[in-house]
C-alpha cells in the first residue's frame, strides 16, 4: 500500500515538534498529551530527520514529569521556553521557531488543558507566514523544498497533498499511535532552558471556567396542529417501516436492486 510506505527521502530534514502537558481523561493526572505524542512518533519515524522538541509553559515539578514522558520515547533533549502561567505562548513559540528555522513543525490538533481551542498552530502559521495542513497521516517524500504528504480524512480516507516547506502540520488521533515511554531514557533526558518574555493573556481574566456541565438532551418536539398527529408521533414505534421488501424475486432482480442502491449512495468505486 502506498500510504504505508516508509519515507526515506527525508534525510537532513529538520523537524520541530511542539509538545504540551496532557491530562488523563479519567484520572486527571498530568501525562504526555496523546496527540502531541503521536506527533513525536511521526517525527521519529521519518528516517534521517533530526527531531527537536519544544515546549512553552511554566516550570513545575508535575509538568517536568509529563515532559519526561516525551523524552522516554527516545529523545535526548527538550527545549523549554519559560513562561508565566496565564501567558500567551504564541509570540514566544513564533520567535523560537523563527530562530530555530525547522523545515517542518508537527504538533497535536488540540491541547488537553486550558482553552484547548486548537487555534495555536494557525496563529503560528499566520505569524510565520507558513502554510498549515491538518490531520497529517504520513510524510511520503521531501524533495526540492516540497513535501508530499497524506492527509487523514474521516472514515479512514486519505488525501495526497503537496506542500511547500517550511510548513506546519497538525496530527490528530487518526495518526499512528505513539510508542511507549521508557523509564530510563526519560530519566536521562536533559532539559534546555530558553528564556523569553511572557505576554500575559488578559482576556482569560474575564472568562468563567467551571467543570463541564452535562449537555441537555434535545427533545423531539412535534409541531402539529392536530392532537391526533402529535399522539401518533409520540406513540409511534421506533422502526422506520419505510423500507422496501423484495420477496419472490430472482437473485438477479434482487442483486440489481442492491446494485442500484449502492451506486446511488456512491460507495462503489
Amino acid at each position: 500500500m502506498p500510504h504505508n510506505a516508509k519515507s526515506t527521502a527525508s534525510v537532513g530534514l529538520n523537524v520541530a515538534v511542539l509538545v504540551s502537558i496532557g491530562r488523563h481523561p479519567l484520572t486527571a493526572r498530568t501525562r504526555r498529551a496523546d496527540q502531541d505524542a503521536r506527533a513525536v512518533e511521526m517525527a521519529l519515524t521519518l528516517e534521517g530527520a533530526s527531531v527537536s522538541l519544544l515546549h512553552a509553559g511554566q516550570q513545575e515539578h508535575e509538568h517536568e514529569e509529563a515532559i519526561r514522558g516525551y523524552l522516554g520515547m527516545g529523545i535526548d533533549t527538550v527545549s523549554l521556553i519559560q513562561q508565566q502561567s496565564q501567558a500567551d505562548v504564541v509570540p514566544a513559540l513564533a520567535n523560537a521557531l523563527r530562530t530555530g528555522a525547522p523545515q517542518l513543525v508537527l504538533t497535536g490538533t488540540r491541547a488537553e488543558t486550558g482553552e484547548a481551542s486548537g487555534v495555536l498552530p494557525y496563529l503560528l502559521a499566520e505569524a510565520l507566514g507558513w502554510p498549515i495542513i491538518t490531520g497529517l497521516a504520513a510524510v511520503e517524500k521531501v524533495e526540492q523544498g516540497m513535501a508530499t504528504v497524506l492527509q487523514a480524512l474521516p472514515r479512514g480516507k486519505r488525501r495526497r497533498l503537496r506542500i511547500r516547506l517550511p510548513a506546519i502540520a497538525t496530527v490528530d488521533s487518526s495518526a499512528p499511535a505513539a510508542r511507549q515511554s521508557a523509564f530510563g531514557p526519560a530519566k536521562r533526558g536533559a532539559f534546555e532552558h530558553l528564556d523569553a518574555t511572557s505576554e500575559i493573556d488578559e482576556a482569560l481574566a474575564a472568562w468563567q471556567v467551571q467543570p463541564a456541565r452535562k449537555r441537555p438532551k434535545r427533545l423531539k418536539i412535534v409541531k402539529s396542529s392536530s392532537a391526533r398527529d402529535r399522539f401518533k408521533a409520540a406513540a409511534a414505534k421506533a422502526d422506520g417501516g419505510s423500507g422496501q421488501t423484495l420477496s419472490d424475486v430472482t437473485p438477479e432482480q434482487g442483486a440489481e436492486a442492491i446494485f442500484k442502491l449502492l451506486k446511488e449512495e456512491g460507495v462503489l468505486r
Partner: protein, 425 residues
Amino acid sequence: MSELVRRDPRKEWIARNRLHPQHLEVLAELGGGAVANEWMGPNGVMRRNPHAVGFIGPNGIRRIDRSGAQQAAQAPGRSVEAKDARRHVAIDTPAFMIAVVPDMAGGRLSSHDRDLLGLARQLADADPAQPGAVLAIVFGEHKETTFGEAGIDRLMHLEGERFSGYLPELSVATLQGVDREMAPRYWLLPDSNVGGELGRRLAARLGERPAAQVWQVEADAESATGWRCTARGAAGRNDISRTLPRIVLALAECADPVSETRHAAEPIKLSNGLPDVLGRIEDMGEVAVDPASVSLAEAEFILSAGNGVKDWDSYHYAADVLGATKGASRVAVDDGYMPRDRQVGATGTWVSARVYVAVGISGAIQHLQGIQSCDKVVAINLDEGCDMVKRADLAVIGDASAVLAALVKRVEQYRFEQQENRDAA
C-alpha cells in the same frame, strides 16, 4: 380536476331518507363507488355487509351517522393537501449580516449545518425592529434545494473549476473578501472537520480570537456584545463562559433548526470579484485505501455476514469485489468464521457506515443497536419476518449465496463497462 365541491341537495336529501327507493344507489354514488352494502343472495335473501356502512371521520375513526347529515364527507378526492404553514420572511434592508459557512457534507446541509443556521437566526432575529440577514457561503457544487427553509436570507454560491477540491487558502481569501465587503457582525462555522479548520484559518487571518466548541449561546445584557456563550475547554472537561466573540465555531445541537419560517435565500455575488491566491498547498486527489485496513467503526461501506452465510469463500470474494469492509454478527464470530475484531453490535463495534449490507443476519437487538447510526441498511435474508428486514431500507428475500453471487456478477459487469469506457475515451 376542480377542487370546488359541487353539492346536489336532492341527492343529499335522498341519502338522508333511508326509506327512499333510490337510497342505496345514491349512497353508493356519494360514497364514490364504494362497495354496495346490500345485495340479493343466491337463496333470494337480502345480504348486507355491515362493514360497508359509515365513513372515516376527520380523526381517523369510522363513524356511522344514521341521520345522513355527514354523507357528503365520504366523497373521495376531497383530501386537502397539507398546506405549508410556514411564514414567509423577506428581509430587504438588513440592519446587519450574520455569515454562516456550512459544511455541505455530501452536497447537502447536514443537521449540524441546520443547527448552526438556527443559531444564526436566533442572533439575527433578536431585535424584531432591526432584523439582521443570514448570509450563507457555499463552496463548490451542491445538491441542496431547501436553503430558504433552513433560514438563509442571502446565499453566496462560489462554484466553478476554481472551487473543486481541497483549497483552504483560496477559501480563506474569499471569506476575507466577504468580510471586507459585507462586514458581517458574526461569523458562524461548524466545529467539525472541515468547518473547524476553515474557521480557525479565518480567525488567524482576521486576527480575531474565536470561541471554539461552543454549545450554548444566550442573550446577556451585561456582556459587551449582548450575547454570552458557553464553550467546552480542556478536552471537554471544562465549560468556559465568555462574551460571544465575532467568530464562533459551534458544536452540533447548539440551537434548534429553523422550522417555522421560510426565507428568501436570495443569491448574491462578491462585487470585487474573487481574489488571486498563490497556493502553497496543492491537492493531488484522494488515495485509494484498502477497505480491510479501515477500522470497522469508521468504515463507510460494510458487508456483514451472519448465520445465514454458508459459503464463506464466496462471501470474502464478494467483499473484495464490492470494496467493502467486512463485518460479522456474533454467531459468525463464535463459530470461528470471522475474527473477533470484526464483530458488529453492542458487544462488538458500534459502526457508523453509510451503507450496511447484512447478509443472512436475522437482527438480534444487540446487533441492531450496533448499527443504529447507519444511514442505509440492506438486508439479504430468507426469513421475511425477521427484525433485520423490518429495520432495512431495502430487503431482498432469498438465498444469501445466490443473491451475493448475482451481485458480484453485476458489479463485475459494471466494472468491465467502466474499463471499456475508459479505454475508449
